[in-house]
């Protein structure tokens, strides 16, 4: 969830108020920083941070699971905008974007091969010689993942 607007960097331009798709922010008073008015609507999409040309926003990552939420880690301020290449650091921000599809498929193949190996092993151990792993009597589900981006 959006964590903070760093007042020492913020120019009060309100670009983030407009850019947030979920209406989390309200304009600040006078030229002051915007107010995080409806944090419960924040979907942690980082897009306000991306659209702040002054790197004055930090979106923290909360919720269940591993790790510890970092608050204002100095090294990460502006990092996302840099990774997107929106800070002008690269003239070709999408040079490796084409790898998305091939990598996705490679990941799927790795998982499929792993599954096949385990099935073969299980069958050997059981000594049945039967093939396949029909899921509990359902019709063969032919749904396609085929999701080169996700």
């Amino acid at each position: 969830m959006i964590e903070d607007i760093l007042s020492e960097r913020c120019t009060g331009c309100n670009a983030c108020v407009v850019a947030c798709p979920d209406h989390v922010l309200d304009p600040g008073v006078a030229d002051g920083p915007p107010v995080i008015a409806r944090v419960e609507q924040c979907q942690t999409c980082f897009l306000c941070e991306l659209h702040c040309a002054h790197d004055a926003i930090y979106v923290a990552v909360e919720g269940p699971g591993a790790g510890t939420t970092l608050h204002h880690p100095e090294a990460l301020i502006g990092r996302l905008r840099h990774d997107y290449g929106w800070d002008g650091s690269t003239s070709d921000p999408l040079r490796d974007f084409w790898q998305l599809g091939p990598l996705l498929r490679e990941g799927l193949e790795i998982s499929a091969a792993r599954h096949a190996r385990r099935q073969t092993r299980a069958l050997k151990e059981a000594g049945t010689g039967q093939e396949g792993d029909d899921a509990a009597g359902y019709p063969p589900a032919k749904a396609v993942t085929d999701d080169p981006t996700a």
């Binding site: 897009l47 290449g85 999408l94 990941g107 396609v144």
Partner: protein, 531 residues
Amino acid sequence: MKAIDADVLVVGGGMAAGWAAISAAKTGASVVVVDKGFMGTSGVTAPAGPNHWWVPPDTAQREAAIRRRLETAFGLADPEWMERIIDITWRSIPELDPYYPFSGDGKGGLFRSGLRGPEYVRALRRYATDLGVRVLDHHPVLELLGRRDGSVGGAGGYDRLGGVSWRARAGAVILATGGCGFRSGLIGSYSNTGDGYLMGVEAGADLSGMEFCVSYSISPAWLSTRTLPYTGARYYDASGAEIDVPAGANRTREHLLVLADAFRAGPVHADLHEAPKALRGVVRQIQPATVAAFERRGLDMFRDRFEVKLFGEGTIRGTGGLRIVDTGCATSVPGLFAAGDAATREHIAGATSGGGAQNAAWALSSGVLSGQAAAALARRQGKGAPDAALEPLGRAGLRPAGGSRAVDRKALQKAAGDEILDLDKALRRRADGLEASARTLEDGWTEISQHLRGDGRDAVAARETAAMVATARWCNAAALARTESRGMHVREDFPRTDPRLACRQIVGGLDRIRIRPDGARQEKTGGKTIG
């Protein structure tokens, strides 16, 4: 009250809305886009990087692509529609050259099939604006406005930054409001609450394919990201033992069933030790936000084991939505069009999710087609009734039938999500379970339609609640009515596919839901195809 006037009013600010606005503006029509959020960050396209169905104009290749995809459409798709969207997609993306930083494809050419979300929607916005489109951000639409003859002639909404209501008169309206993710946390879907379905049905339009809403994507438990890194993941159950999860194309259901069993027993973890080697070097560039999800918790995504969750995608990567009746993406209500995830995607994906290629090509192409058809209609018929004669059509959440009183919106929203997205309910549909869900959703709908009312900014949240419960009700009723298994819709009590039911299923109605088989062939008269 702010007054807006346009030949074509486009509702939404994602991919479909962008392409619709562009194609309408190219015909010379005056076009206004009204988005709930910001056209550039809102919708599921923006934080993503959609890959499009991308097949060169070679007859053999295109036929083969269509044939392959028909195999998993389970008899509900239409090869002519497939061909159409492949062609429009192929010809449209290069138009973005001046606005999008296309880069190499690793083979000496340009990579055009996939576009990174924030840059994609920014490009659409700039292109549209250059063509004279007026974009109104943070102008959620609350309801459609009807003319006396039953056609749609505008929309009304609220300007949430300006704090005023607005009313737009238009020659035609395009609903490009996206699918409904029931606030599952799926990234980008917070605003995708099914508003367009509710508004469309209130105006008299039908829905189709709502039973096809069984789709999930895996992410770290704390934040939905794109799923690219996880395709090679290994999974561990609550006891720490590795789970043997089926994987691969065409195995989505088995994959989900095994994971669902594991989730029932306790938290499920994953690690990415075996992810493709090359991913490490490029994931930060391809999907910066995915890296941030780990980095901002002090985790190394390729080293640490982490808890995962399946995020429900509802109709976003399901295939149901507003029924369209011609190749211009018109609904059955004159003046009202539907594009993108707001429309049914059965024509191009049938009973299997089109996420991954078809959906983006559909959002683009249905945008293009609806934009042209809506502009043509506006040109032919003008704006019809003078503003005063337009009747507001919104009911639940705006003009409840009984007395307005406090309604527990959070609980109702949660019920809508639970009934449709709960893994066991969705993957193991049975009459008794669906009937129980129907009763819960019916009670919720009665409460909402009788008593829920929001004013001003609060009307937006009230309508979102109404739309989610209404959508859940339609999805559930459609699932109950389809007494067979087909594609992503699997009934435990009807495990076989019934050849007699190989047709789309139309759902409509508000207080009384009506369901009927779609016997009609696609009419091919209405809108015109490009080129």
